[in-house]
Amino acid sequence: MGVSKLIDLETAIASHVHDGDSVVLGAGLETAIPFCATHELIRQGKRRLNMVAPISDASTDMLIGAGCVAEVTGAWVGNVSGGLGHNYRRAAEKGVPNTIRVHDHSNFSLGMALLAGGYGMPYAPLRSLLGSDILKSNPEFQTAENPFAPGERIVLAPPIKPDLAIFCVQRADAGGNSHYWGSSGVMQEAAFAAERIILIADEIVDAQIIASDPSRCLIPGFRVTAVCHVQGGCHPAPLTGRWKRDNSFFNDYHARTRDPDGFGDWLQEWVLDCADHAAYRAKLRTKVDDLRITGEALAAPANYAAD
């Protein structure tokens, strides 16, 4: 398993996130979003971040409201349960709390740009976005003629290589080898593209458990910078086999953040007043038990025997 990469979340964020970084904070769209890291970025007062992800549910909206964000490279920013993200709208429309620059993408174009970044491709060719004004509002795209099919127009997306990507996984060993299962959005492409990777493991397990099923590894351990053990670090997002989605929490966030004061109160209560994720969990009280998945729907074992 190699050298231990296990550190606490506060240290990981302090050591590996710098003001001005481009950051992927979960790329599972609506699942496995590391909200514990969202909160810690806010508590540590990180600034001028460029948030990169097709969709990271309400995480980006929280960071924008807290003044951590200068740029958004994304396909959809809001709150999936509530629809619109109030902080995103305030920043984009009125510059509150600060102006932000938006690099418009579609889900597919952002995934392909990360794929290009992750595989060292010079650019990603696309058939999507033709006819879309995304090509006008984001001048980083180019259109070109397909060199292999004269007369055919295609779109070229420049590669994206984020400084840092943070992911929730169900289990990892201390060396950064991990298992993730369920839908994964663009987690793997984002991991390959990123300079540094922090894993938020719901559970730390023996290295042999991870080694027993290497096909369940989405992100190779040798690319991982640090591993943090945070149980339920995805809350209120779900994590397959571990945590249900706390839909009412998203709805409450939507209702309370309609104006900046309301957001300020919400932020104080759920982020700033919590010293760390343990304090946040304590505040959720018995809800933690309601959200924990206790049923079992186990996959059949896979045999890797060599002879």
């Binding site: 619109l84 418009d104 006819g131 509002s137």
Partner: protein, 250 residues
Amino acid sequence: MEYSTQELMIIAAAREIRDRELVFVGMRLPITAYGVARLTHAPDAVGLFEGGVARYAPADETLYTMCDPANQLNAAWTTGLLQIMGQLQRGIVDAGFIGGAEIDRFGNINTSYIGGYEGYKIKLPGSGGAADIAAMAKRLIAIMNHEKHRLVERVGYVTSPGYLTGGDARAKLGLGGGPSAVITDRCILRPHGDRHELHVSSIHPGHTFAEIQENTGWDVKPAPDMGETSVPTAIEIAALRRVDKDGFWR
């Protein structure tokens, strides 16, 4: 048989899905429609979810998002976004459902900026996967509330391309597909003629063409064969009530 407007819209959406098709389903109303289609005329349709899920039978419980644990359980495939959306770019996805804040007479949809991207008044969440589905699925089905400020002459920003400026504008870019139906709470519109302009194809029971004209932002015309949207059959309602166990849409 009693049914709500939303139930009629769901059943109308279900009728747009054909058997054995690959369909981008989306949340809320369309996923319910997909469930109804599977239980009635399209038992072998396959549902695709851009977060990285493919399913045969829809999930057993009400979903808040396509990535909920209930949508992963017994899925046909859980994978990544590019693996699912790559099927679109491969050209084999038959249909996709999307919603939107604004749609225009040529079926272009805006979910990004109200008032154009320079000097906009309202910033909406953005494309998500809608622009990709609109560009690359063989048919696009849009679902909207029918209000004058939503069905507009020309959207201020094309997030998801329809027939653009009409005629062969879309085909000239090399895009196939395009909107095949817009299902609203008053009627179903479909593109008609060489210009591909949306015409009223069928009016939901209890609504009138005059009322639709009044609530549409362009001089909307009836299709030559305009009729009334067929009322839900007992079989369709029974299927819907099985899918919508909690009665969310009743």
